[in-house]
């Protein structure tokens, strides 16, 4: 019988044209979420709306979760007053209910046991599990000092445990957000404008006339506000210029797509700078008033012509010039987007610097349609004693390396956990909250060695992610729909806050992170830092200081505040002091120079693939967040696995067919654990392959996600570390295809 699940068609629109039906590609398995008598749609008036903000990604859109008369969550929609989402959640937020409904969630505390040499997890009571974690925290503190207990975290639960760890006396915290994601752009922009980009990005996309994306795939990278504003910009006729070896969705909506040879972006950026300066089309008044180092820059890029860049990037000189002129014509309403996941080749801070400098020449920082001056409301701290001062933290282990890192470097914390590496200060135990390190950190062997070496690991999560397999104690957190968290205070055009209140009671024996942190704190004798009965008390106290209350916020979800820091943009001729050493926009970075780095960026050549190998490029799909969502029934329904994108020419060489399963082997001989289906597409360059990140789960507990697709993280064994800030460049890995299951002969 023909079903819509057969909806994969090859259309006749030219070479390699394929129509892919998305959604509901699964035929078997999952039942309706509700009983038969609840099958019809229910109107909004018959339901109750609860204020929350989303935790499926970290854009944290405020929304309303609707429960029906029986108290079941029926749907989640955006809060119209929230500047992050303007009433429209992304697919992940809309499908957030799947996080709550997922039947394989962690349900009870678990403790690792060894019986007859075999290890397994035993269900435990909260009292026992918390008692064990407390005794380990005391033991580590007594034996090695509290600093030896490190915290890896991401998202809302992290903030509760950071508070616990600060009270306990450890400042060893790391989140992948720095060294595996956006650290380099913060370094590059801070050196130039004296300000981080931060999240959400203060990019004034809605009013821009020209948006330049360098490998940034907004639309697939579903950071809601940016996607919405890009759509507005398209409506308003903005020019989009996309630089990407892959025809990303954004590239397909661009006036100019520059299909660059991977790893050469910095040459293109320098050539663009050359054109702006030598064609005299940069923002002269702006540079004269606000910037320093122009003459050095002019001399520096003298020979970095479009012709020079053509030989490196494969982008034709004429196209480089035309796109530079487009940017100049739109100036200052132009954004050369800093991107978000920017740890690529180890010289990423310098590439981001070049992006920042290009923006400076275009006069876009502090200008309408460029970058606005963001502002947030400080949330007052609930009364507590001062935190103790740790004897050392991760920075003291660096010995002068990565001097521009300002957030904990996860990989350095891992290395400090391995005694043989001889770090001055050793890490002996971990808490991992809300981050799935095995599918996040490159160089899996490093992670495994570190996990083996430490004495104790406690994992707090909602799902049986791979990290759980390494835990000695597992503490099951309830999902964001079942808990309070701290107030979301976001920097934006208009300062604003949002409330997350529980929509339903925690399912199973799960608990909110704030409760877990408070319990551990009290057991550790740190009760003074948790001097309240319930988080409602803290939130209400904070909200009243902000001129509202918990009760009021439950009704509105979001509250906006007037700006206090001044206008969104610079006024004509306004005097402005930038937060750099010189108070100016630094085209010549005195800070980089002081630390012994190039004050002006230089192009460095990076390795290109050997014969029969292809550069592994990875990215995002709009319906998934890293590896967090792969088992979410609603989102899995939209996309259940990744595929490896292969250019038709390459497919011909290897005689690959669409949907054929292959294994990928990288330059170091590492083979993907599971096969991945080939997608033959003209959207990818012939020297690269592409995969969506976050698949290839190997925890069998993940009923839907287990064994689906390949994990890019596992294939990233060559790490190109940024000497400035410790970012782990991950785009220097090359893979080849294995069409037979590796080790097949041995098996039979």
């Amino acid at each position: 019988m023909k079903t819509r699940r057969d909806f994969i068609k090859i259309s006749a629109l030219g070479t390699g044209a394929a129509t892919l039906g998305l959604s509901a590609l699964n035929w078997n398995g999952v039942k309706a979420l509700y009983a038969a008598d609840e099958q019809e749609a229910v109107s909004d008036e018959e339901m109750t709306a609860h204020a929350t903000y989303c935790e499926v990604c970290f854009w944290k859109c405020a929304g309303w979760a609707y429960t029906d008369k029986k108290g079941s969550i029926r749907k989640i929609v955006g809060n119209a007053d929230d500047p992050h989402c303007k009433g429209r959640l992304c697919p992940r937020g809309t499908g957030g209910v799947g996080m709550y409904n997922d039947e394989v969630r962690l349900k009870t505390p678990l403790i690792r046991e060894t019986v007859g040499g075999k290890q397994y997890f035993r269900k435990a009571s909260w009292d026992e599990a918390l008692g064990l974690v407390t005794s380990k925290m005391k033991e580590v503190s007594e034996k090695y000092g509290p600093e030896a207990f490190a915290l890896f975290n991401h998202g809302a639960p992290g903030s509760h445990f950071k508070h616990l760890f600060h009270a306990y006396g450890s400042g060893n915290e790391g989140e992948p957000a720095w060294a595996q994601c956006r650290g380099p752009r913060e370094v590059g922009f801070a050196a130039t404008f004296g300000s981080w980009i931060g999240s959400p990005e203060p990019t004034d996309i809605r009013d821009t006339r020209c948006l330049v994306l360098i490998g940034s795939h907004i639309g697939e990278n579903m950071h809601n506000g940016q996607v919405q504003e890009m759509s507005t910009a398209i409506d308003r006729g903005a020019t989009i210029i996309t630089v990407d070896p892959r025809l990303s969705t954004a590239a397909s909506k661009s006036k100019y797509w520059l299909p660059i040879k991977p790893a050469t972006d910095l040459a293109l950026l320098l050539a663009w700078i050359h054109v702006l300066i030598y064609e005299d089309i940069y923002d002269k008044d702006y540079i004269e008033k606000y910037a320093m180092g122009f003459d050095q820059l002019k001399t520096h890029v003298k020979n970095m012509t479009p012709e020079w860049a053509y030989g490196i990037t494969t982008i034709k000189p004429d196209l480089i010039r035309r796109t530079a002129r487009e940017m100049a014509a739109a100036s200052p309403a132009v954004i050369v987007h800093p991107g978000r996941h920017v740890v690529w080749y180890g010289d990423d801070s310098q590439r981001e610097r070049a992006i920042a400098m290009l923006n400076a020449l275009l006069g876009s920082w502090g200008r309408r349609g460029g970058f606005y001056f963001k502002e947030k409301v400080p949330v007052p701290r609930f009364p507590q004693p001062e935190y103790p001062h740790p004897a050392w933290d991760w920075k003291d282990n660096l010995d002068g390396r990565y001097p521009l890192s300002s957030m904990g470097i996860t990989t350095e914390l891992l290395k400090a956990s391995i005694p043989e590496l001889g770090y001055k200060h050793q890490i002996k135990a971990w808490m991992v909250a809300g981050t799935n390190l095995p599918l996040t950190i490159p160089d899996n062997e490093l992670f495994k060695k570190a996990a083996d070496a430490v004495e104790f690991i406690v994992v707090v999560d909602t799902m049986p992610m791979e990290i759980v397999k390494y835990a000695d104690v597992v503490l099951p957190e309830c999902t964001y729909l079942e808990r309070y968290d701290y107030i979301r205070s976001a920097s934006h055009r208009e300062p604003n806050i949002a409330l997350r209140a529980p929509v339903v009671k925690p399912k199973y024996e799960t608990k909110p992170a704030w409760w877990i942190a408070k319990q551990l704190g009290e057991r550790l004798g740190l009760g003074a830092y948790f001097n309240y009965n319930d988080i409602e008390e803290v939130l209400d106290w904070q909200l009243k200081k902000l001129g509202t209350s918990l009760e009021e916020m439950k009704k509105t979800g979001v509250k906006k505040f007037p700006r206090r820091s001044g206008a969104l943009y610079l006024h004509e001729g306004e005097d402005y002091e930038f937060n750099t050493n010189t108070g100016k926009i630094e085209l010549y970075s005195t800070d980089f120079e002081d630390h012994g780095f190039d004050p002006l960026p230089n192009y460095t050549e990076h390795p290109q693939p050997q014969d029969n190998y292809y550069r592994l490029i990875y990215g995002r799909a709009p319906m998934h967040t890293f590896s967090r969502t792969s088992n979410n029934p609603n989102l899995w329904d939209l996309m259940e696995t990744n595929s490896v994108w292969v250019n038709p020419k390459v497919a011909d060489l290897w005689d690959l067919k669409n949907s054929q399963e292959v294994w990928l082997q990288n330059q170091d001989g590492v083979v993907s654990e599971f096969p991945v289906k080939v997608r033959i597409t003209e959207r990818i360059r012939w020297d690269s392959v592409y995969m969506v990140h976050g698949f290839g789960h190997n925890n069998k507990k993940l009923s839907r996600a287990y064994g689906h697709g390949a994990s890019d993280s596992k294939l990233i064994t060559n790490v190109m570390t940024d000497p400035m800030m410790g970012g782990t460049g991950m785009r220097g890995n090359f893979v080849t295809f294995l069409t037979e299951k590796p080790g097949k002969e041995l098996e039979s």
Partner: protein, 177 residues
């Protein structure tokens, strides 16, 4: 009154939000869908184009699914919305075969199901769930007979196409190109 929808292929990013929003709004079982995304790639590298479309029932003026339904479960209501009365449907699947857009599916409870243009929401003065959720605001809905409706305005200023016009069904989804 003639309800219709316009889909701006220049803005759609194919995120699938319309699909999830429809599933949760209308309690469509996981594994099934009333709307879906089509990605069309044409050309060869580096001269490649993508068309992204959010598709659903076309609520045709000349609906073959309604004509072929043996029980009258498939019918047309106010505004041209094609609907299925679940308890009159015997699940024979004739309508599924007749639809050139593959817009209907067999619900596991034994009837045929499809997009309703969220008529339960229209009755309350709201728009459809997919229109209201779309992060790129690429979906426009309304009454074609009202020149000020979102869909009328969208069609006035842009070029558009319909799918499978040769089928003669007079479809009411318009794709802005």
């Amino acid at each position: 009154m003639r309800y219709a929808m316009a889909i701006d292929t220049k803005k759609c990013v194919g995120c699938g939000d319309c699909v999830v929003a429809c599933q949760t709004e209308n309690n469509v079982p996981i594994g099934y869908c009333r709307d879906w995304i089509v990605e069309n790639v044409s050309g060869s590298y580096p001269n490649v184009e993508i068309e992204l479309r959010s598709e659903r029932c076309n609520h045709c003026d000349n609906a073959p699914c309604v004509r072929c339904c043996p029980t009258g479960a498939s019918h047309i209501v106010e505004g041209g919305i094609v609907k299925v009365t679940h308890n009159e449907c015997i699940g024979c699947g004739a309508c599924i075969q007749s639809c050139p857009y593959d817009a209907r599916y067999s619900h596991p409870d034994g009837y045929v199901d499809k997009c309703t243009f969220c008529d339960h929401r229209l009755a309350k003065g709201q728009s459809t769930a997919c229109v209201e959720v779309c992060p790129t605001s690429c979906l426009y809905f309304g009454d074609l007979e009202d020149p000020n409706s979102d869909v009328s305005k969208a069609l006035k200023n842009r070029s558009w196409k319909v799918l499978a016009p040769e089928a003669g069904t007079k479809p009411q989804l318009y794709f802005l190109t």
